[in-house]
């Protein structure tokens, strides 16, 4: 089970955003999309989740093209957490979370809601107005919302499900960053395919099974963190000196800039 990206190209307003991207994102693993600003990470994610149509190439999810799924089928197949969500009216956080309920028994959904809220430490926020939450608190609520959408209804035929997360940790403190990515790790172990746009290369090195390094809409490198995270490659990619150290104390690559 996997997402196959076949020779993908995307133009927006006459500008090449993505060109010739080929990759395979396996379910049961965490795939990180990294690269400098404007490299096309978010656009690639938006194509993968079906929001943008590529000009060339195609995306296969478990062997079927994106177009072959209905909106409802896709909603059960994958969830998406976008960078920012502005809510105009005073919904409570709980009401926002409940929007993820698609079908099936509601009490089972609520049990799961409770579990995830406790796991991500948002239980104390559920009765607060969503608009009154801080940026980080909103982000945690939206993460739980996304998780619930696919977790509450596992497919009976054993087909895989996917989480698409666009910079889910951008407003989080260090502890909550780790919690969120640990939850992603647990989901991946349960068979979910996780695709995350992430700027923090240290987090990527710690949690990713595979990293896709993008540069100006092209795939610069793809592979396991130790294959992709190379000081010279990163230095030229970001245009600043970056040193990658294999730190024996923590047992992984540490990126210094």
């Amino acid at each position: 089970m996997s997402i196959e990206i076949e020779n993908l190209s995307l133009q927006l307003g006459g500008v090449d955003i993505l060109s010739g991207v080929k990759a395979q994102l396996d379910s049961g693993s965490i795939n990180v999309l990294a690269g400098p600003n404007g490299a096309g990470k978010t656009s690639l994610l938006r194509v993968l989740c079906g929001e943008l149509r590529p000009n060339k190439g195609r995306v296969l999810i478990d062997g079927s093209t994106l177009d072959s799924f209905s909106l409802e089928e896709l909603a059960k197949k994958r969830c998406v957490m976008t960078q920012s969500t502005m809510v105009v009216f005073d919904f409570t956080a709980l009401e926002i979370l409940e929007m993820s309920w698609l079908s099936g028994p509601k009490n089972k959904f609520m049990d799961q809601l409770e579990d995830f809220c406790n796991r991500c430490e948002v239980m104390h926020l559920v009765h607060r107005k969503f608009r009154s939450l801080s940026g980080g608190e909103k982000q945690r609520v939206l993460f739980v919302r996304a998780l619930l959408q696919v977790s509450s209804q596992r497919p009976s035929d054993g087909s895989s499900q996917y989480l698409f997360l666009d910079e889910p940790t951008s407003n989080l403190d260090i502890a909550h960053e780790l919690t969120l990515l640990s939850v992603c790790r647990e989901r991946a172990r349960e068979g979910f395919g996780v695709v995350i746009v992430l700027h923090d290369l240290n987090l990527a090195s710690r949690f990713a099974d595979s990293i896709l390094l993008l540069q100006e809409g092209k795939l610069r490198a793809v592979g396991r963190p130790e294959e992709v995270l190379d000081g010279n490659v990163l230095s030229s990619l970001y245009g600043t000196d970056i040193v990658v150290e294999n730190n024996k104390t923590v047992g992984r690559l540490v990126i210094h800039s």
């Binding site: 938006r46 989740c49 079906g50 929001e51 909106l71 409802e72 896709l74 909603a75 059960k76 994958r78 969830c79 998406v80 976008t82 969500t85 502005m86 809510v87 105009v88 009216f89 005073d90 919904f91 709980l94 009401e95 926002i96 929007m99 993820s100 698609l102 609520m110 049990d111 809601l113 409770e114 809220c117 406790n118 430490e121 239980m123 104390h124 559920v126 009765h127 608009r131 959408q149 502890a175 780790l178 919690t179 640990s182």
Partner: protein, 350 residues
């Protein structure tokens, strides 16, 4: 992994469930409020009517006639129009994700008025069969409302970031344009048409008759149903259009349904009572503040409160200087306009 010393305490599901039943109670309170408003309004007027006498059959002939042919249809019309304007306002605010959207402010009512006026002035040329005539005015008002709402969407979508301001500005432009159209029709209309038109434009619920109520109730029923059935989708679109689509909502279909639903509601209301402002703005907000924000609650609550409010406003309009009447739109605007200003202040602070 990491251990946190002050992790928040676990909460159980009993705590999650609170707040649900209190909404039902609040809706029931609204409903009984509507009941009181309705009973008061059918009792009080230029001719006071004792309901006890009426149902016992001891009321005078005149009082019975006034009650069944004037008072009751008028109050029912007020309830229908109030309900329809409030539901349409709730739906448009939800769809446009804009708390300032009101059928009157954003030009939908003007579009409906222009449609209705063109039918008053040009309708005779169509030589419609008699049985279709009661529907001609509402239908052309609905067409006017649909055109304006669709136009609003074109503008709201091209510049999503500025949707709040854009929609109000487009509303001003549409109101002005509709004014031009209405002026032209006034100019080319003959004396009797002009009289009909002028009375109609002043906005009154006094023209409620039973044979007008049937098509109105039918159209407003269709409109409310279309909107109510979309209440979950209206909730989901609050997360944003792409996000709603990720959750399985066909956003374009939702837009078509809400545009059609609210245009039918506003068109039917305007064709019956002329332009009555601010009900569609004020009522959904009061419901959100007092009952809750999910659209299922907002729509049911707006239907009841909108009906109650317009019934009361019409009562005030009837009893202030009897037997003359204050146009009901003056009453609703007197309440609504300051409320609108307060809303702008409130939104600015966010």
């Amino acid at each position: 992994m990491i251990s946190k010393t002050d992790s928040p305490p676990r909460t159980d599901s009993a705590e999650i469930a609170t707040g649900r039943s209190s909404r039902k109670i609040k809706i029931l309170i609204l409903l009984s409020g509507f009941g009181v408003a309705f009973l008061t309004a059918i009792k009080i007027g230029a001719v006071p009517i004792d309901l006890g006498d009426l149902f016992a059959g001891t009321a005078s002939f005149v009082k019975t006639q006034v009650f069944y042919n004037i008072r009751l249809p008028r109050v029912i019309l007020a309830a229908l129009v109030g309900c329809s304007l409030a539901i349409s306002g709730a739906a448009l605010q939800g769809l446009l994700r804009n708390p300032l959207a009101d059928p009157g402010l954003i030009g939908v009512s003007s579009g409906a008025a222009l449609g209705a006026i063109s039918m008053i002035v040009l309708g005779e040329m169509l030589e419609l069969p008699d049985e279709l005539r009661p529907y001609a005015l509402p239908v052309s008002a609905i067409i006017g409302a649909i055109s304006v709402t669709s136009l609003l969407f074109v503008f709201a979508q091209s510049r999503r970031q500025f949707a709040v301001v854009t929609i109000l500005l487009v509303g001003i432009a549409i109101n002005a344009l509709a004014g031009v159209g209405i002026g032209i029709f006034q100019y080319i209309s003959d004396d009797s048409q002009l009289r009909t038109l002028t009375f109609w434009m002043m906005g009154s619920l006094g023209r409620g008759t039973w044979d007008m109520l049937v098509p109105a109730a039918l159209l407003i029923g269709v409109s409310s149903l279309l909107i109510f059935k979309s209440s979950r989708e209206l909730d989901l679109i609050q997360l944003g259009e792409p996000e709603a689509e990720f959750l399985g909502v066909d956003v374009q279909a939702l837009k078509r349904r809400i545009i059609l639903g609210s245009a039918i509601g506003v068109g039917a209301a305007v064709s019956l009572s002329g332009m009555i402002g601010f009900i569609g703005l004020v009522v959904p907000h009061l419901v959100r503040l007092g009952v809750g924000v999910p659209h299922k609650v907002v729509i049911i609550g707006s239907a009841i409160l909108g009906a109650a409010l317009l019934v009361m406003a019409d009562l005030v309009a009837r009893v202030t200087i009897p037997p003359a009447e204050v146009p009901v739109s003056i009453i609703t605007s007197a309440i609504g306009a300051p409320f609108f200003l307060w809303l702008i202040l409130r939104e600015r602070n966010l």
